[in-house]
């Protein structure tokens, strides 16, 4: 566990860089985190994915897999990989401030 500052606020991250407490997350932090991950600007499409991930996480207790994202977020699998090249589910979950989604698919 480590403490990092995003948007001027110190937050706790686990070893893989995921938020320990998703409630600490703010939209301003996401902008900072995305930049650190190589995404210069979060577009409306990025936000569709990030908002969807947080919604799923708070409803179901875990973030969605890429397949679920592709089927239900309104963003196709192809576009998901263009938006989040380092792996959509994992990268988007980190930027959305939720734990790494479990599941193999």
């Amino acid at each position: 566990m480590s403490t990092t500052t995003f948007a001027g606020v110190p937050v706790e991250l686990n070893e893989e860089g995921f938020f320990v407490d998703p409630n600490q997350w703010t939209r301003e932090m996401a902008v900072d985190m995305a930049k650190a991950d190589g995404i210069d600007e979060l577009t409306p499409q990025h936000w569709i994915v990030l908002d969807f991930m947080r919604k799923e996480y708070f409803e179901k207790g875990t973030g969605p897999t890429v397949r679920v994202l592709g089927k239900t977020s309104g963003v196709t699998v192809k576009d998901l990989y263009l938006l989040f090249p380092k792996g959509p589910a994992k990268m988007a979950a980190r930027i959305a401030g939720i734990p790494k989604p479990k599941g193999c698919i």
Binding site: T65, V66, R67, V68, G70, T76, V77, K78, Y81, P85, K86, G87, P88, A89, K90, M91, G103, C104, I105
Partner: protein, 160 residues
């Protein structure tokens, strides 16, 4: 330093699919898809009976092997009865659907969309008298073993 070093992460995998049974194909697809989900570069190379996974005529009819598979816990003679393989496949597909594992055609399409490379082995394609048109659109090319090694350079190779 505490004497331990973190091993370097795998950044690229090339997976060879040589079997045409359900249990022969799925692990390779799951590994390729998982590699892309982790942000790794991935390639799938279909050879021999593995070509069935991307053959338009066969892709919808991939079955579990019920004979010669001790882990199925079905005596060989019973596993060989007509319809047994279909029945086992049906049951397994149902369970996989519940676990949100896509059927093979959908999985192949999705893996193509993740940006994973998919190739057919030239020697096998020639042996089975097949052409590029016999394969699903996700197959980018028919390549030689030499092409494969060039493509796999700098990464890990997994044979299934």
């Amino acid at each position: 330093m505490d004497g331990t070093t973190t091993p370097e992460k795998i950044t690229k995998v090339s997976i060879i699919v040589s079997k045409g049974s359900l249990e022969g194909i799925y692990p390779a697809l799951i590994m390729a898809n998982g590699a892309r989900a982790e942000g790794m570069e991935a390639n799938l190379f279909f050879t021999f009976f593995g070509l069935d996974a991307v053959n338009k005529k066969r892709i919808d009819h991939i079955k579990v092997a019920t004979v010669g598979n001790p882990a199925m816990h079905i005596p060989t003679l019973i596993g060989g009865l007509p319809g047994m393989s279909g029945l086992a496949t049906h049951m397994m597909s149902k369970t996989m659907d519940e676990l949100d594992i896509p059927p093979i055609p959908e999985f192949i399409e999705m893996i193509g969309d993740t940006g994973c490379g998919m190739y057919a082995c030239k020697a096998s394609v020639d042996m089975f008298h097949l052409n590029k048109e016999d394969f699903v659109d996700q197959i980018q090319d028919i390549i030689t073993v030499g092409d494969f090694y060039d493509m796999a350079a700098g990464g890990q190779i997994i044979f299934t």
